[in-house]
Symmetry: D2
Subunit: 351 residues, 4 copies
């Protein structure tokens, strides 16, 4: 079998770094193009010493051109900021190259919502209808047919997977859903910046982006679909002094005030029993971010508060693997006719 | 002026450690008794090397007896677990020694609530009515008259201070108050324990105590008083890989859906302008735990979500200083006729 | 091909935890026995939630007996403390089961040295001559023939690999070798213990075991062999507030005071060019522990001080993978006729 | 008594931040000028929220001019990089303002050594002879007479204090002194920079500046004076994933191979018994950086290796307080006729 030739635009960020290490051990994908304006001309192994003596280390970093992509790649991963991807994707698709886009540019079905939350006009609205939201648990079949994947955001992945079973089993009210999320610092990007210096983050905790974080409409869009009704919810992110991991504490009013934890747990198990990656923890257990570090797992813990009639869902993922690069590989697998979990059944250090 | 002679029972925990360092520089208090069963017989400076060459380092650690306390102390700090304090406090009070108790034993006015949440009978119910809840911002006058202070819990301190202005200005509904709190690991105690080993905590994040954390009724009691109506609320704590600090993200429904952030901010400033320790941050700023590290400050940031009609309050304190030992010193100051902030106007490393 | 059936005695420590995650993805080894006195009776996936939905999660933890090992296993990994392994290994070998021992019990050729540094009599001295020191870069051929492997210590692995090229090329004097090592906290074990609590380790740094750390004679034994002369050296370990990784800063007097860094670097490259796991960094680059996290790599940086005529070697490994469980798998591969790096060519999160 | 009016040039770095918090509680110094090009025009409390409700918070940040300093200040702290201080100090001194300089510009007596290690010409060589090296334990009397203090470097402070007693008691050989130091990340400065981002530092350890760190000649100068002979030594710094603290592991050959640890310990105690800040730990105890956090203490632990005839000294300080801002305050106290430890007898969080 011939290798799938892939390119990666935006290698210097944490998502790009994670993708580089995943591709180095992928049995059927081969990294043939790695792009970065700032690091152009270096060997990839020179820029990322951890890649030396691994496949891909000899790729020379280049500046992105659609021509190089067309000449070399079957598929390109775009690990670039929102606003840039919508300029690159059309050219790649025209050149016959499939695209898995890490940015938000193709995640929101409603162009107006995009423009309101991202504060810029959408320049490739013609692609919005053909892009598929790349959450394999919900859209595997459509992904396999697509040419352009909108890889989900990290927070939304944790929240949507956490709520899917509750929505599908009609356990919760669409009102009053509240999501309090906590993320490791790789989620804040790799650009040198005072607030993300070690000494500004270590032994510290803070909230950010209150009432206006851009992942809010993405979560609302998908939960609205799952509940088949428009949902407005509260979303608050926080910065944890750790490298990786997202934990979302999700609060929702139970439709049936007499609902028990055991019944909720049965519903979750029914939804996720056969899933390779979503693990519903035993009753009474709560997830920890380290147990999913570097992997595709989403671990879910549940509680029911009889006093407040609320369901509390604690959902954890690795923000860089499941929440970005790993999910992108899963989507690339499907889009390329490969098994969903190819190259993704690794483990990673728990401590 | 003669020094106030104080004793400390329970020196080996983090609250006791913090109190030892605060007393070492207190201008009018002198540590004359330090008790620990396990470390009895050692010099305090031998047990805590950081105390060497500081006042108090030559105290010999002893096993607690009411007789030693009576002979030596004007006031005793009890930094012992719930259940133990209620055995010690009566004897100390009978011996004419004032008590500042760090445990929950005298915080809850309703004995039944105590027994339900703490799972043991109360053995000193006669003292419940004379104990004063030691939150100086709310009860300074009563504290000054008391002989037994129930020093507030760390989470409750952050939540009550965060909500006081909103309650007093009648901004929020008593229904649907939701508190999502995050604490550093000193809050989990200093007893050797697998889940609090460095390698189990570092680069990790988790929730704990869902729907049954014992600080819930304490918060509800005080918010009910402030709102003058019984309040049932949601409280969820999390463990942050950092030493110190609590951040509580507090969500409440606005009574007036047209309420603006500016008006809320004015109310908060009115309440706290003259306070030495509660700081309302400028509009648009959010607090960080490091900025209150090792101090008595409570920093508060505010947001109003027009989409969900919610007020979001972010409140941070240092769990060991403001949330335990420092607050105990403030209470001891008041109870001893000293200025509230004596020995507490220090700063601490921000990074 | 039939799977190699392996057992693991001592699953609850960090080395056992690391081995469990490596075996879960090893293509030809199957975990069939997992032993722990304390956790006996539990499913492995119940004890280690990170193993759920992975191979091995359904193994029931048992108490170690040679009989179970004989019935089920081709090979047993002993992840037990020094002193225990020498009681178990003889019985396993008699039962025809190969042994890879993580402890120091079979590492020192000289029984007297063992008894001096470990403070107990050796109870299986008859096995000392047949045990092979499991450092594949030095002893691959002997390992492949052995039935009992003494898996090297974590610090010694970093130091011996760091010094091998300098010794083989006769660059350094045997006198005055000084090793200043720094290790993450997983090296201190997983037993609940005050000094390894998160809050005692975080934002803190300390030395330990000065002039008497037990890895000293192990390092001296192997460097003496490499230099073909008895070597006494200085070894000082330190505890770093991080989970994983060892960095050893190694100082040695250059034999030739005119030796240049370029020549040293050429020697190192000559020794390690073909090695799959030892990476000599480009001139002027220094290694970081994160770049080898969770892997078998040993990264080496070099400096020559013209003022002091010293060679400085900075060598980093992952203490749990390369320094314990991963090296054990490599040894088990060789001993079982499998390729050295089978199941070990994974990557792990860099951040 | 009138307050001593002080200015601070360079408030945005970690040393400036530390000085701001120390001055906020200093009983006789008053911050009247705070300079920063980038933050000019802001209230100090706006820039540093931790200063709100503390003395100094209302100072308006200005751009440095000698005129403002002359008009307002008795003394100015220069927390600016090497190269800038030598341009500012002459003007301040001419204006009759005393100077405590944090940079290296006036630390090295030999202009040639400065120019070799710092790579730039010295522009104020006429001041070199009148500047006093501000280590109070060695030079208190000269400091009290000076107008220009060269505040010592952080690493040198830990090393010189660690070696003083050994030098004064003639215990060690001047040859073969080797210093392996480890520092928290605040030592790397507060400028946004990829290598000091949280995710590049956390769970990571690395060496830097091998054989060419600029603190080398500063250490050599002072140890040469103490040993009354020219000393060339090895100095290697490392970066620890923690905010604060330096630990220096210092290796030196014992002059008398029969020297015992007990005798060495007696010498150290003789030297430091009366010192307010240098603490020699009990035999067998080793220091930890957290026990000196935020303070002026230098804790020293000792070991003698009978096998290698070496003395090993482990010395810890807080790099920002003792190693920069606190030491500057101590120097400013002396230069202003105040008690050495005024405003410096605080404690700080141990955890």
């Amino acid at each position: 079998m011939e290798a799938i030739k892939v390119g990666l635009v935006g290698i210097t960020g944490y998502a790009g770094m994670e993708l580089a290490r995943l591709l180095a051990v992928h049995p059927s994908m081969q990294l043939v193009m790695a792009c970065s304006r700032a690091e152009s001309g270096k060997r990839l192994g020179e820029y990322y010493p951890f890649l030396e003596k691994l496949p891909g280390c000899d790729v020379i970093i280049s500046q992105f051109t659609p021509e190089e992509a067309q000449a070399k790649c079957d598929l390109v991963f775009l690990a670039v900021p929102a606003g840039k991807a919508m300029k690159m994707a059309p050219k790649l698709l025209q050149a016959g190259v499939k695209v898995v886009d890490f940015s938000a540019d193709f995640r929101l079905l409603d162009q107006g919502v995009y423009e309101e939350w991202y504060g810029m006009p959408h320049e490739a609205q013609e692609l919005l209808s053909q892009a598929v939201y790349g959450l394999p648990e919900l859209y595997a079949e459509k992904i396999a047919q697509a040419k352009l994947i909108a890889n989900p955001g990290c927070y939304p992945t944790s929240v949507i997977l956490g709520l899917t079973a509750a929505c599908q089993h009609d356990l919760i009210s669409p009102k009053n859903i509240l999501v309090d999320s906590k993320s490791g610092t790789t989620g804040a990007g790799r650009k040198p910046n005072l607030p993300t210096l070690f000494s500004e983050v270590a032994d510290n905790f803070r909230a950010y982006g209150l009432v206006r974080h851009r992942h809010t409409p993405e979560i609302e869009q998908e939960i609205s679909k799952l509940l088949a009704t428009p949902v407005t919810l509260q979303f608050t992110p926080h910065l944890v002094p750790m490298n990786r991991g997202i934990l979302s504490t999700i609060y929702a009013d139970l439709k049936d005030p007499a609902m028990t934890l055991e019944k909720v747990w049965d519903c979750y198990n029914e939804t996720w029993k056969a899933s390779p990656w979503v693990r519903v923890l035993p009753l009474g257990k709560l997830p920890e971010t380290r147990f999913v570090r570097g992997t595709m797992f989403c671990d879910i813990g549940l509680a029911v508060d009889k006093r407040t009639k609320r369901l509390i869902i604690v959902s954890v993922i690795d923000n860089l693997c499941r929440g970005a690069a790993g999910q992108a590989v899963a989507n690339a697998n499907l889009i390329s006719g490969r098994p969903l979990d190819e190259g993704l059944s690794h483990t990673a250090p728990l401590v």
